[in-house]
Amino acid sequence: MSTYSLSDGLASGAPRVSRAPLLTAWVKDSGAGVLASIAWIAFGLSCLWWTDVGDWSRTHSLGIAAFVIAAVALFGTVGADYLGSAGKALHKRAPWLVALGAFLTVWELATAKFAWLPLPFFPPPQAIIEVYTDDLPKLLDSVFASVKLQLGGYLIGATVGFLTGVSIGWSRAVGYWVHPVLRFIGPLPATAWLPIAFFTFPSSWSASTFLIALATGFPVTVLTWSGVASVSNAYYDVARTLGAKPSFLVLKVAIPAALPHVFVGLFMGLGSSFAVLVVAEMIGVKAGLGWYLQWAQGWAAYSNMYAALIVMSLLCSGAITLLFAIRDRLLVWQKGTVKW
């Protein structure tokens, strides 16, 4: 719309030319927000205009929700000056809102309306919304089970890995005994232990916790160790001449200096533990998102699988965001760290 009025103003000559720069500025500033609104109106219309090829109960609500989002985008853009930081945030994300609206429109048309993509393998957005509204208790139970299992295993693995890494890095004797074991066992994918773990541990829950801890522990150990080992001797010299005891050298010199490495290890451990979590849940544990995926596949409930995948992705991404937030808080002294 706005582009039209701009070209109109340019075409019709002198009196309006003086307004053109203002208009250009306005289009530059708000164009994306207006486009986002249009994209979401298109999505809403695509929901409501045609009838569904299948039987989905949330189509109407989804269409209304799309209009609401379109309205929020529009008023947020027009009234950005009055909204402060919220307006700025919206302005920054407007291009993404455009892309998202367009994608959802195409998705809606390709599945629910014209079935260009084969059903039921590609469910429409409203089918996934339906999962969230109708199957919520089960999904929440799964989320809770996954988070519990992951958190327990990860914390154990990270703690043990950190302590092992510090001891190897600090003590030659510990290094002599632990290093070969680490080299032998560490590179083995934790999932390879799965069959044995499920036999030897008293419960599938403890077996999975062990495997997640193992997957987390290896990278955390190696990186903590390398962090401690690479601390410059000059730091120890300074601390020693100032009267530091060995415990001070470990706690106040070696560990803080190694912390950037430790966080790389924690990040890598988080990634590999996610993989173990899902596999363990699919194979042994009768709860959690991995199990939910497996269960949904058994019933050919494809929309449930997509819904679970989206939740899983949000959880994993959230966990990494949290880790990075902790890192940024602890390592404020570092300059130029990667923003997640």
Binding site: D237, V238, R240, T241, L242, G243, K252, V253, Q334
Partner: protein
């Protein structure tokens, strides 16, 4: 006169310690071969003296400082602070290294507090940290992190980190070596002022003859590796010293001659 002198003594109870280096020899093992770095070095430093150790680069001066600090043990000979033998590091002998080696994860204040914290007396003596920062003029940077400081500021923080411990012997291992010449001249004056105020014994390693002469009571010239004492020169000039002082210029010529650089003069 007597009254002011007494007052001086009373306000500075932790004045310098005497240092005795007796027939010290040291060597490194490099790939199985023994590399001698110090050969029968004997130096006796009186309490409160400012001694500069001058010698060609890599001659073993810094090794001697590490022995005085107690960071390494000599292969032969003995080192004593007052009457007690030096066997390990002690906060009464603090080193300022060529690199400031501030802990990057600690703020300026926390870096200066390091020694008191390591000795477990920080809680009751926080004021000393503030005083040390005041002394080097960096109170307004107390919350800054080391990567935000310039080279000269970082070295000042390192100096404050040493001085907060009220050392009896201050060991300076080319602390100004990496600074630009202007900052260097300013900091030379600051070091002299601090030394005069606090009365600690100072040992300065440098390879700059001018710096040694402007700062020290005594300049000890070392030979090439393995280092031996080649000359022990007393610099009897009042402070503040002038760089163009003909007496110092004459000494400088002598020293450069000892170091084998007379051809350039």
């Amino acid at each position: 006169m007597v009254a002011t002198a007494l007052a001086e003594v009373v306000t500075h109870p932790a004045a310098g310690a005497a240092l005795d280096i007796e027939q010290v020899s040291h060597a490194f093992d490099i790939d199985g071969a023994e590399l001698p770095v110090l050969s029968d070095v004997s130096i006796s430093v009186v309490s409160g003296e400012f001694v500069a150790l001058l010698g060609p680069s890599g001659c073993g001066k810094s090794t001697l400082l590490r022995l005085v600090a107690g960071l390494d043990k000599p292969r032969a000979g003995r080192l004593r602070e007052d009457d007690s033998r030096i066997t390990r590091p002690h906060p009464s002998r603090v080193v300022v290294f060529q690199d400031p080696t501030l802990f990057p994860w600690r703020s300026v204040w926390d870096n200066v507090a390091l020694g008191l914290e390591a000795q477990g007396i920080l809680k009751s003596q926080r004021q000393r940290v503030d005083d040390a920062l005041d002394l080097v003029g960096l109170s307004s940077f107390r919350n800054a992190y080391p990567h935000q400081l310039s080279g000269g500021m970082a070295q000042r923080v390192a100096l404050a980190r040493a001085l907060v411990n009220d050392p009896k012997i201050l060991i300076l291992d080319e602390p100004l070596g990496k600074l630009d010449s202007l900052t260097r001249i300013t900091m030379q004056a600051e070091i002299v002022a601090l030394w005069q105020r606090k009365g600690f014994t100072t040992l300065l390693v440098t390879h700059d003859a001018e710096e040694a002469l402007v700062l020290a009571n005594r300049v000890i010239v070392f030979s090439d590796r393995p280092a031996r004492v080649k000359a022990d020169i007393r610099v009897d000039r009042p402070y503040p010293r002038h760089r163009g002082d003909p007496y110092l210029a004459d000494l400088r010529r002598q020293i450069l001659g000892l170091l084998g650089l007379d051809a350039t003069w």
